[in-house]
């Protein structure tokens, strides 16, 4: 009979039944996931310090090592190993930089923070990034006020703060104190293939009527006019809706959302924006996109099957290896929704992103800050842009350089927008739960019921629930 399974000598059934009882206790080990209790606060280790001087404004110990951890994602890690570290060692040859990289920041770093042994400088990024608000609240991030007040490494006569684009420090500030350097500068908008547009003599729209008219033309040409990936990138769509809302009613609309103000989501600007986008979802999106991942939709755009894709300026670099010859990324500002929009059609959302912070309870927090100062030098910033095709918050660091069509287009958009650049919103990093809700709500709006009123009410309810939840640390901005 069963020749590959020998007859047992023990009573297998009894054994199995006992094993089941053990398995019962072992299997829901998910309980364990939440069981990594943080260590107590006591016993902070000795931290390295040196004497402050004009040459050493942060007062680092020139001989103390600095440990850095870099997220290995869309930006790669070359900028750290080939640019920043050599630059740091040029100034501080005796300080040994210990480098490591990971694709899962929270998995690697969170236990070390709880164990009281964090690295000195951490790049908190990627899909497994740590809730930075919680880190600040727990006192684990070093206050960067002295870093921003220190003189810039290679721009004479300016402090680090002076060399940055507007809003860069604000983006990493919690209740008015800076805790993070948001290093890369991302321009958001509608991305398209300039070559395809030229071939069909399509021009990027500035009004909503032009937008839908162009969408009709694209549809007729067999191109899906607009798309985003519902499976894992619906927050690109949230940004599109909220950017439109910001253009209708200024950034104040978004600030109210961040501040969890009552009625922030039922504001007319949000309603109008949601309605306009619901129309796009109803008529111009491909329904299967709800089940696709960002790479799949981006690939379809590379194949000229999708016209507009809402995204940030990292897109070109992310798609570099899949972009066919002749495909030229270009960015368009979101068209005005109404004629009464308070911001002009050229207004864009551009924000500092990619959190880098110095751990407050590491061995060498000042060293971590000095590493950040090195990154914020003009030389490091330019090399970063060359390597990653991503702008940095160091203002004008890559001016006059031709690096790639998408980057040039993004730079142009920034110039055209002039003073009408707004940072956008922070609720997605402050309140992850609200972020989650907004993703599901955006998918419903664009793929399922196209109901703007429902979108607004649902988000309003979620936002007020967060406001009332004492377990969530609140932040405000102005």
């Amino acid at each position: 009979m069963t020749d590959i399974f020998p007859k047992p000598e023990l009573d297998r059934r009894t054994l199995l039944r006992r094993a089941a009882a053990v398995g019962l206790l072992a299997t829901p080990a998910v309980g364990m996931l939440s069981a990594c209790v943080g260590s107590s606060d006591e016993g902070t280790q000795d931290q390295a310090t040196g004497t402050k001087s004009a040459d050493n404004p942060l007062g680092i110990d020139p001989k103390a090592g600095v440990e850095i951890v870099i997220f290995n994602g869309g930006l790669g890690t070359d900028y750290a190993t080939k640019v920043d570290t050599p630059l740091f060692n040029k100034k501080w040859p005796e300080a040994k930089v210990t480098y490591s990289q990971t694709e899962e920041i929270s998995t690697v770093i969170q236990p070390r923070i709880n164990g009281g042994n964090p690295p000195d400088m951490i790049n908190n990024s990627g899909s497994k990034l740590m809730d930075f608000g919680a880190i600040v609240k727990a006192g684990q991030a070093a206050d960067l006020t002295d870093l921003f007040a220190a003189p810039s490494l290679d721009i004479q006569g300016k402090t680090v703060a002076d060399t940055l684009v507007p809003g860069a420090i604000e983006q990493g500030s919690y209740d008015g104190k800076p805790f993070a350097v948001n290093y890369s500068y991302t321009v958001f908008g509608l991305w398209y293939n300039a070559t395809l547009f030229k071939k069909n003599s399509w021009t990027p729209p500035t009004t909503w009527a032009e937008f839908t008219a162009l969408c009709d033309k694209m549809k007729a040409a067999g191109v899906v006019p607009f798309g985003y990936a519902g499976a894992n990138a619906s927050y690109y769509m949230v940004r599109a809706i909220l950017t439109s809302a910001g253009k209708i009613g200024t950034e104040q609309v978004l600030k109210d959302i961040d501040n969890l103000k009552e009625g922030a989501w039922t504001n007319d600007a949000i309603k109008q924006a949601a309605e306009a986008w619901a129309g796009i979802g109803k008529n111009y999106i491909n329904k299967t996109f709800l089940g696709l991942r960002h790479t799949e939709v981006q690939l379809q755009q590379n194949q000229d099957k999708v016209g507009f894709y809402p995204c940030g300026s990292w897109l070109e670099n992310e798609q570099a290896k899949d972009t066919p010859k002749g495909f030229e990324y270009a960015i368009a500002a979101y068209p005005s929704v109404t004629a009464a929009d308070k911001l002009p059609a050229t207004a864009i959302n551009a924000a500092a992103g990619e959190i880098y912070f110095a751990a407050a309870k590491g061995k060498n927090p000042q060293g971590g800050k000095e590493y950040l100062r090195t990154m914020l030098s003009k030389e490091a910033a330019l090399e970063f842009t060359k390597l990653t095709k991503s702008l940095t918050v160091v203002a004008g660091a890559s001016d006059g350089q031709t690096i790639s069509p998408g980057l040039t287009s993004a730079n142009d958009a920034v110039t055209k927008a002039g003073k009408d650049i707004f940072m956008g919103y922070l609720f997605d990093t402050w309140y992850k739960k609200l972020d989650d809700e907004s993703r599901a709500a955006a998918n419903d709006l664009m793929f399922k019921d196209y109901d703007a009123a429902k979108f607004c009410e649902r988000m309003e309810k979620a936002s007020q629930a967060v406001a009332k939840d004492s377990a969530v640390t609140k932040f405000t901005r102005s």
């Binding site: 069963t2 399974f5 829901p28 939440s34 709800l290 089940g291 793929f447 939840d469």
Partner: protein, 302 residues
């Protein structure tokens, strides 16, 4: 050699028991402790809130949605898997009839047995990725690719009506092989004479299955039911990797284990996540107790 017995036994047990105590028992104790605190997952645990986390759970619609999905899996996963595995195991071992004093499986049963076991060799994460492609919502998806060009594609995971069904299909596909093997081993334990006697009395294959195989295999089936029920309370890897918006669309595939993970590591609500873990612990315990006592019947010893 009697005096050497205890050191011998202890020598064997000390490592597994220590591992179990540290990584299971101690973890559980911590989860119970954390569930009455409001804790972000970082820094010291100091804000005692009593049963507040459980009250919050009561008002949490996602929690009830997740429970609903876990119960859906709890009902259908063991049912479908056990039935399929029993049928396959029967065909592989007894289904070929009775020739020359030996009962045998259907033709080619040795090959089938190996094929059925294959899915068990794949890591769940890989299974999830593969089936993500199988259920692809456009023409690049395997199933949609097989449909004629003129059909509009099935959305599968992107359609909230079918998403949970897709998860169930994968879980069954993955589990069936193991239980085929388990039941085969159980059937191997049933003496041939019993089958012979029944066959001489003129029992058909169907009768053999229901009157001989099932009663003599009952203990094994019971155990399988508990194992599968516990698996139904998990389903974390599949949901986390396969589904739209992780647990979506709009919560349509959310399960408790995913909620625990997201609350602990993404929403910074480790206290709440621990409370969810405690609930899951009691749910699993209750399920196992109910199953084992409800299915208890006079065991037939062969």
């Amino acid at each position: 050699m009697r005096h050497g017995k205890y050191p011998f036994i202890i020598g064997f047990l000390v490592v597994p028991v220590a591992l179990y105590a540290v990584f299971v028992v101690w973890a559980y104790i911590q989860a119970f402790y954390l569930s009455v605190y409001e804790w972000s997952g970082l820094g010291p645990v100091e804000n005692f809130v009593g049963l507040e986390n459980f009250r919050k759970m009561w008002d949490d619609t996602t929690f009830w949605q997740s429970i609903k999905h876990n119960i859906f899996l709890l009902v259908f996963l063991p049912l479908i898997t056990v039935v399929l595995a029993l049928v396959f195991a029967f065909l592989l071992n007894v289904g070929g009839g009775h020739k020359g004093g030996v009962t045998r499986g259907v033709w080619g049963s040795k090959v089938y047995r190996i094929i059925f076991f294959f899915p068990q060799l794949l890591a769940l994460a890989i299974v999830a990725v593969i089936f993500g492609r199988v259920f692809g919502p456009d023409k690049s998806g395997m199933i949609n690719g097989l449909f004629p060009e003129s059909w509009s594609p099935w959305l599968f995971l992107a359609d909230e009506r079918y998403a949970m069904g897709c998860i169930l299909v994968v879980l069954v596909w993955q589990a069936v092989g193991f239980y085929v093997v388990l039941f085969s081993a159980g059937m191997g334990n049933i003496p041939t004479e019993v089958y012979e006697a029944a066959a001489i009395d003129g029992a058909s294959r169907v009768t053999l299955f229901f009157k001989i195989t099932i009663p003599l295999l009952w203990n094994t089936v019971q155990v399988a039911w508990v194992y599968l029920g516990i698996a139904a309370f998990d389903a974390f890897a599949l949901v986390n990797i396969m589904t739209v918006d992780r647990g979506g669309p709009d919560g349509a595939t959310s399960v408790l284990s995913l909620m625990i993970y997201r609350n602990a590591f993404e929403f910074s609500q480790a206290g709440y996540a621990s409370a969810l873990g405690v609930v899951l612990f009691f749910l699993t315990l209750t399920f196992a107790w109910v199953t084992l006592s409800a299915t208890r019947r006079e065991s037939v010893e062969a």
